[in-house]
C-alpha cells in the first residue's frame, strides 16, 4: 500500500484514500470538432505508457476530493513528487539536480 502526498491537504496518507485517474497533462482540445480523426484518436486513446517516469493524475477521492498530478516510476512504483492540477509539468531532471 502506497503512501501518497496530497498537495492540497499537504499530508501523506494511505493509498485507499486515493483513486488513480490516468495520464496527466492531456488537455481536452479547445475545439474538438476542428480536429482530424487521427488527432482526436490520439487524444482519446494514445498514451505514453512509459517504463519509468510517468506523469499521472490522482484524486484524493476520500479526502478533499481534489484531482492532482504526480510523478511516479512505473517500475518501482515510487512517487517522485505530487503537485496541484494546472501547474506546469515539472522538469524531473532539474529537480534531481537541484536536490543534489
Amino acid at each position: 500500500m502506497l503512501l501518497i502526498h496530497c498537495p492540497y491537504c499537504d499530508e501523506t496518507l494511505p493509498e485507499p484514500e486515493f483513486a488513480y485517474a490516468g495520464e496527466a497533462h492531456i488537455a481536452r482540445p479547445a475545439d474538438p470538432m476542428a480536429l482530424t480523426d487521427e488527432e482526436w484518436r490520439d487524444f482519446l486513446f494514445i498514451r505514453s505508457n512509459p517504463r519509468g517516469t510517468h506523469y499521472e493524475r490522482w484524486r484524493h477521492v476520500h479526502g478533499c476530493g481534489r484531482f492532482f498530478n504526480a510523478i511516479r516510476d512505473t517500475v518501482s512504483d515510487k512517487f517522485a513528487m505530487t503537485y496541484r492540477a494546472g501547474e506546469p509539468r515539472p522538469n524531473l531532471d532539474a529537480l534531481k539536480e537541484a536536490a543534489e
Partner: protein, 999 residues
C-alpha cells in the same frame, strides 16, 4: 506408546506434561511443546504423507515452515478442519485430531502409488503432452481424471466458524526473525529507545539458538543468554515481541504484512478470540533476519521416510529431545551437518558414517568424527537408498575425479542430508530488491535495496552465531541511527561457535543409469533432476519456463527447498553459470496463509455495506423480496399470499396501468449542480441543450464518455436559473459525480459551479398511474397540479402531505406520474401518508422488477443493461436527445469517428417472439441463419426480456447488427435443444405516441 525416541531430560518440551492427540485415528502421546512432527518422531513415526504425483511414501524433511512433505489435515472441533497443515508447525494439544492425506485407503497402503510404477510415463510436461488429443476425450475422460487426482488434502465442507482479526501497527523498527541476528538487532534498536517490533514464526524466540544449546554467549549457555535477552527486551517499554507470527509479504514504503496464529495451539481457546490476526505494519526501518534454509542433496531415493535435512535432525534433538533414528548416516556438502552428527552421536544415536561429497574436509572435523567412532567417507557420493516405508540402508560410492567407484551399503534408519544453506531472502525479493550471486558463499545475496531495510546474519551469507550476533547488532544500530536515534554497537563474546563452509552441488554423481534415478528436487510436486534436464532438452531456456513446465518450486513451500537445486541442475543442462540463469520471482505470501486471515472482518454481512432507503423497513414489513442494486438493497416485488414473482409482477403492472402504483425511487443518484455557470457546465457535460430550459421544467439528460458511448442518463430539473437537480442511475451516481468533478476541476476550472451529492439527502416516492393526480392533489399545497399548470416534465418546490418537497412530473412507466422528493428523514412518513391516501384509488406498491417491465414496454433503456459501454446514442435510438445546435459537449467529436458512423453497428431493437408465451433469456445470442454450422455467426444478443401484462405476451429488446434495417425480419435465438424465432420491431411496445402522459 511410550515415546521410544524421546531422550529423557533433553529438549525444551515439558516431558512431565504428556499430551495425547490422534493420528489417523490412533492415539499418540507427545509432550507439551511438541509439534505434530516432533511428537510423531518421538514415537518412531516417520511416514506422515504421500507425495502429490507419484503418491510415494514420505516422511518429514524439515523442522520448520518450509516443510514440503509432512502436510496433514487437522481437526480442531466441529467445522474446524484444515487441510495441508504443516506437521512441523502445528503444536499439539489434547484431543487434536490429525489425519494423513493424499492416500487411499491408508497411509501405508495407497492405491494411488501405482503412479510411482508408471513414473516413466508421467514425465515433466506430462499434462501438456498427453491430454491434447483426441479432443473429444477432454470432457469425458481427461478432465474428470485430472479433477479426481488434483488437489492436495481435502477441502473443509462447512463454513469456517472462526473469527479472524486485523490490525494496523506503526513502529520505528520491525525485525523479522528472532534468531541471533534478529535478537541482536532488536536489542540494539530497542536500547536506543526506538519502538521495535520483533516477530518470529516459531512458537518460541531464538531461531538457531534453540537448536544449538552448546554455544556460549557472554559467558552463559546459549539458552541462558536467550532467556536473559528476551527478559531485557520484554523490559523495554517500546519493544513488542510477537511469536507464532509470520511476515507474509513486504510491500511498498516499508509496509509488512504479518499473520499471527492466535489460537491454533490452544486446546481451549478463550471465548471470542480470533484464530488468526493479520497485522499491517508500517515501519520506519525493517531488519530482515530470516536466516537461511538448508538445501537437500539430490540423489536416487532421497525422498524415503527417514531421509531428512541434517539441521532438522539437530532441531528435533535439541529443541524437542527427539532422536530421529537409532542409526543415522550423514551425507553432506557443508560443515554444518558434521556438528549434527557429533551431537547425535553424543546423544546416543549410532552414526556409522559421515559421507562428504567434498574431497577435502576440515581435518579437525574428521579427527573429531573418528574420535566418536564415526567413519569418515570424504569424496564419496550416495547413489541410492533402500527401504519401503522407511529408509533401511544407503548405498555409498567413492568418487575419483569423474569416476564413481563401486557401491557398498550401510544400514541406517535415518539419512541426514545437507546440501548447504540458502539465505532466506523472500521478503527482500518482494521489494524488488535485487540479488547477486556470490561465488564464495555459493548463494544469491542481497544486492540493491529499494526500501529502508537492513539484512542481517545468514541472509547475507554469514555463518555462525558470533557473525550473526555481530551483524544483527550492526543492522539494529544502523536502523536506529537512520531514524535519528543514538545507538551503540553491541559486542558479544561467543565460545564454542560452529562456523563452517561448504560447496554447492547439482545432483550427486552416480554409477548407475541416471535416467532410472528418482532423485527428487521438489518433494511435494515430485520433480526430479531428470525432469529438469528433460525440460531443458525440450527447449525450455528461461528458468521461469523450466519452473512451469516441471512445476518445480510450485508446491506449497514455493521452492524454499528446491529452487537452488533446480537452478544448479538447469544451469548445468544449459551449459551456463547459475547467475546467468537467474532465479524465479518470489511473491507474497512467504508461507501459506489462510483466506480467513486475509478476509479478516470482511465476511458475511460485513463483506460489503448494504445501503437501505428510508422506506426499506416498510417494504420489509410488507414481505417484499429484495434484490441488490449497486450497494443498495431494493424491493424487487411485493408478493401477496402464495404469489410467485411472475404473478406478483403481473398484478403490480396491472395496477400501475389501470389505477396507481407507489414505487421507492430513493436510490436514484442525485447531484445538486449550483452556481452562475451551472447551465453552461451541464451544456458541456450532457448531450442535451440546457441553456434555454426554463426554471420549473425538466429534461431527460444523456451523458456520454469522451469516446461517444453512453455512460449514464437521468432526468435533470431546473429549479432556478442557477440551480439544477440532476438525477443519475442508481449504480452510476458516484461515477457521474467523479466525472463531473474531473471536468470541473481540471478542464474548466474557470466555471463557477458547485457539485454536491444529494443522493441520500432525498427520499423519493414515485406515484405512477392514471389515478396519480387524484391521489396527490389533496396532499399538495401551493401548487396547481392540473395538466395545463403542471405539465409533463415540470418541476416545482411545494409542500406534499405537510413536508417540504421537490415535486417532479415525470414518468418512467408511460403513465401519468409524479416523483416526490422529500428530505430523507420524512421519507417513511410521506410514504405512509401516500399509502393511506391511495387506498381509495387502488394504490399498489411495486418493486424494481415491475419498474423494469413497465419501462421496457415503453422502450426506455436501462444504462448498463441495454447498453454496455460500446453503445452510442445513435445505436440506442436516442439521437433525439442530442442538442443539434450545440458546438461541443463531452463525446460529441467521437460521434463522427469512422467506426461510429459506419454501417452495421449493433442497434437497439424490439423483439417479439413467434410464440407470444415464450419469454427469451436475457443474454441469449441471436443469429440470422439457424442452419449454419456451429460456431454460428452471432449478430447480437437479448438485453431485456419480460412478460408484458399490458400486451398479454412477451417482449424483448436486443442489440442487433444493423438492427433498425432489419425491422420486420425474423431472427433466430438458438437455445439448448431448440431454436426460437422472433420478429424485429421498434422498441416502444405500449402507447408509442405517449397519449397516456397527456392527461
Amino acid at each position: 506408546m511410550t515415546q521410544p525416541f524421546r531422550i529423557p531430560g533433553r529438549g525444551r518440551v515439558d516431558q512431565s506434561r504428556p499430551v495425547q492427540f490422534t493420528f489417523d485415528g490412533r492415539t499418540v502421546t507427545g509432550c507439551l511443546g511438541d509439534t505434530v512432527a516432533s511428537a510423531l518422531l518421538a514415537n518412531g513415526i516417520h511416514l506422515m504423507g504421500r507425495s502429490f504425483k507419484y503418491h510415494r511414501p514420505r516422511g518429514v524433511v524439515s523442522a520448520g515452515s518450509e516443510e514440503p512433505n509432512a502436510l496433514v489435515g487437522t481437526s480442531r472441533g466441529p467445522g474446524r478442519f484444515e487441510p495441508n497443515t504443516r506437521a512441523t508447525m502445528q503444536e499439539i494439544w489434547d484431543e487434536l485430531r490429525v489425519e494423513s492425506q493424499n492416500r487411499w485407503p491408508g497411509l501405508a497402503f495407497d492405491i494411488g502409488a501405482i503412479n510411482d510404477r508408471f513414473g516413466r510415463f508421467l514425465p515433466a510436461g506430462f499434462y501438456y503432452k498427453t491430454f491434447m488429443w483426441p479432443r473429444s476425450f477432454w470432457d469425458k475422460v481427461y478432465e474428470p481424471f485430472i479433477r479426481a487426482a488434483a488437489g492436495l488434502g481435502r477441502s473443509p465442507t462447512e463454513p469456517d466458524p472462526d473469527l479472524y482479526a486485523s490490525r494496523n501497527l506503526h513502529c520505528e523498527v520491525l525485525v523479522v526473525g528472532a534468531g541471533p541476528a534478529g535478537l541482536a538487532a532488536a536489542l540494539a534498536a530497542g536500547r536506543s529507545g526506538a519502538s521495535v517490533v520483533l516477530v518470529d514464526e516459531q512458537s518460541a524466540m531464538g531461531g538457531t539458538l534453540l537448536s544449538e544449546p552448546d554455544v556460549r554467549i557472554d559467558g552463559q549457555g546459549a539458552w541462558d543468554w536467550l532467556a536473559a535477552t528476551l527478559a531485557e527486551l520484554r523490559s523495554l517499554p517500546s519493544v513488542r515481541l510477537m511469536t507464532r507470527t509470520t511476515a507474509i509479504g513486504y510491500y511498498h514504503q516499508n509496509m509488512v504484512g504479518l499473520c499471527q496464529r492466535v489460537t491454533d495451539h490452544l486446546a481451549s481457546p478463550p471465548e471470542g478470540a480470533p484464530r488468526e490476526r493479520l497485522w499491517r505494519v508500517r515501519a520506519g526501518q525493517v531488519v530482515l533476519a530470516q536466516g537461511a534454509i538448508e538445501k537437500p542433496l539430490v540423489f536416487d531415493g532421497n525422498d524415503r521416510p527417514g531421509v531428512m535435512l541434517a539441521g532438522a535432525a539437530q532441531t528435533f534433538l535439541h529443541r524437542f529431545g527427539v532422536k530421529v533414528g537409532d542409526r543415522a548416516v550423514v551425507v553432506t556438502s557443508h560443515d554444518s551437518a558434521w556438528h549434527t552428527a557429533f551431537d547425535l552421536a553424543r546423544a546416543g544415536v549410532r552414526v556409522p558414517a559421515i559421507v562428504d561429497v567434498r574431497a577435502q574436509v576440515p581435518p579437525d572435523l574428521a579427527a573429531r568424527a573418528r574420535s566418536l567412532g564415526i567413519e569418515v567417507l570424504a569424496s564419496h557420493t550416495v547413489t541410492g537408498t533402500t527401504g519401503r516405508l522407511r529408509v533401511a540402508s544407503v548405498m555409498v560410492n567413492p568418487v575419483r575425479g569423474d569416476r564413481v567407484g563401486p557401491w557398498r551399503g550401510i544400514d541406517c534408519d535415518a539419512l541426514l542430508m545437507c546440501g548447504g544453506w540458502t539465505p532466506s531472502l523472500h521478503l527482500f525479493s518482494h521489494t524488488k530488491g535485487s540479488l547477486a550471486w556470490d561465488a564464495q558463499a555459493g548463494a544469491f545475496l542481497p544486492d540493491r535495496k529499494t526500501e529502508d531495510c537492513e539484512i542481517a546474519g545468514a541472509g547475507r551469507g554469514l555463518w555462525g552465531i558470533a557473525a550473526a550476533l555481530e551483524d544483527g547488532a550492526k543492522a539494529g544500530t544502523a536502523a536506529a541511527k537512520a531514524l535519528g536515534r543514538v545507538a551503540g554497537v553491541g559486542t558479544f563474546a561467543v565460545e564454542d561457535d560452529r562456523t563452517g563452509s561448504g560447496v554447492v552441488v547439482k545432483e550427486l554423481p552416480t554409477d548407475r543409469d541416471a535416467s532410472l534415478a528418482k532423485a527428487f528436487i521438489d518433494f511435494q510436486n515430485d520433480v526430479t533432476a531428470k525432469d529438469i534436464r528433460l525440460a531443458v532438452r525440450e527447449g525450455m531456456r528461461s528458468i521461469e519456463h523450466v519452473k512451469r513446465y516441471t512445476t518445480n518450486g510450485m508446491a506449497t513451500d514455493q521452492g524454499k527447498l528446491s529452487n537452488i537445486n533446480g537452478l544448479m541442475i538447469a544451469a548445468d543442462a544449459l551449459g551456463k553459470e547459475a547467475p546467468q540463469v537467474g532465479l524465479t520471482t518470489f511473491r507474497p505470501p512467504y508461507a501459506p496463509t489462510t483466506f480467513g486471515a486475509l478476509a479478516g472482518y470482511h465476511r458475511g454481512s460485513h463483506f460489503e455495506v448494504t445501503r437501505k432507503t428510508p422506506i426499506d423497513a416498510w417494504a420489509e414489513s410488507r414481505g417484499a423480496v429484495f434484490e441488490p442494486v449497486a450497494l443498495w438493497r431494493r424491493a424487487r416485488y411485493f408478493p401477496q399470499g402464495a404469489e410467485d414473482m411472475r404473478a406478483a409482477v403481473a398484478r403490480e403492472c396491472r395496477a400501475v396501468r389501470t389505477a396507481v402504483g407507489l414505487f421507492d425511487a430513493s436510490t436514484l443518484g442525485k447531484i445538486e449542480v449550483m452556481g452562475p455557470d451551472a447551465a453552461t457546465f451541464l451544456e458541456r457535460m450532457y448531450t442535451n441543450p440546457w441553456a434555454k430550459l426554463q426554471p420549473g421544467r425538466c429534461r431527460y439528460g444523456l451523458l456520454l464518455g469522451e469516446d461517444g458511448f453512453i455512460r449514464d442518463d437521468g432526468v435533470i430539473g431546473r429549479l432556478t436559473a442557477d440551480k439544477f437537480h440532476v438525477t443519475t442511475t442508481t449504480g452510476g451516481a458516484a461515477r457521474v459525480l467523479n466525472m463531473m468533478e474531473d471536468y470541473l476541476q481540471t478542464e474548466w476550472p474557470d466555471l463557477d459551479v458547485w457539485l454536491t451529492s444529494t443522493t441520500e439527502a432525498w427520499a423519493v416516492a414515485a406515484v405512477q398511474g392514471p389515478n396519480a393526480r387524484k391521489l396527490l392533489e389533496p396532499l399538495v399545497e401551493g401548487l396547481d397540479l392540473s395538466d395545463a399548470a403542471f405539465p409533463h416534465m415540470a418541476v416545482a418546490e411545494c409542500t406534499v402531505a405537510g413536508f417540504p418537497a421537490r415535486l417532479f412530473r415525470v414518468s418512467f412507466t408511460g403513465e401519468l406520474g409524479f416523483e416526490i422528493n422529500v428530505p430523507a428523514r420524512h421519507g417513511l412518513a410521506l410514504w405512509e401518508k401516500l399509502w393511506q391516501a391511495g387506498q381509495s384509488h387502488g394504490i399498489t406498491a411495486y418493486g424494481t422488477e415491475t419498474m423494469h417491465v413497465l419501462r421496457a414496454e415503453k422502450g426506455f433503456i436501462l444504462v448498463g443493461q441495454d447498453t454496455d459501454g460500446t453503445v452510442t446514442p445513435g445505436d440506442a435510438g436516442l439521437d433525439w436527445a442530442i442538442g443539434k445546435q450545440k458546438k461541443d459537449f463531452v463525446g460529441k467529436r467521437s460521434l463522427q469517428r469512422p467506426d461510429i458512423v459506419a454501417k452495421g453497428r449493433k442497434q437497439l431493437v424490439g423483439l417479439l417472439t413467434e410464440d407470444p408465451r415464450e419469454v427469451l433469456e436475457e443474454g441469449a445470442q441471436i443469429v440470422a441463419d439457424p442452419h449454419q454450422p456451429v460456431p454460428m455467426t452471432m449478430i447480437g444478443h437479448v438485453t431485456s426480456s419480460y412478460w408484458s401484462e399490458a400486451l398479454g405476451r412477451s417482449i424483448a429488446m436486443a442489440l442487433v447488427e444493423g438492427g433498425r434495417d432489419r425491422e420486420g425480419q425474423t431472427l433466430h435465438i438458438p437455445m439448448p435443444g431448440r431454436t426460437l424465432r422472433a420478429k424485429v420491431t421498434g422498441t416502444a411496445f405500449v402507447d408509442p405516441e405517449g397519449q397516456r402522459l397527456k392527461v
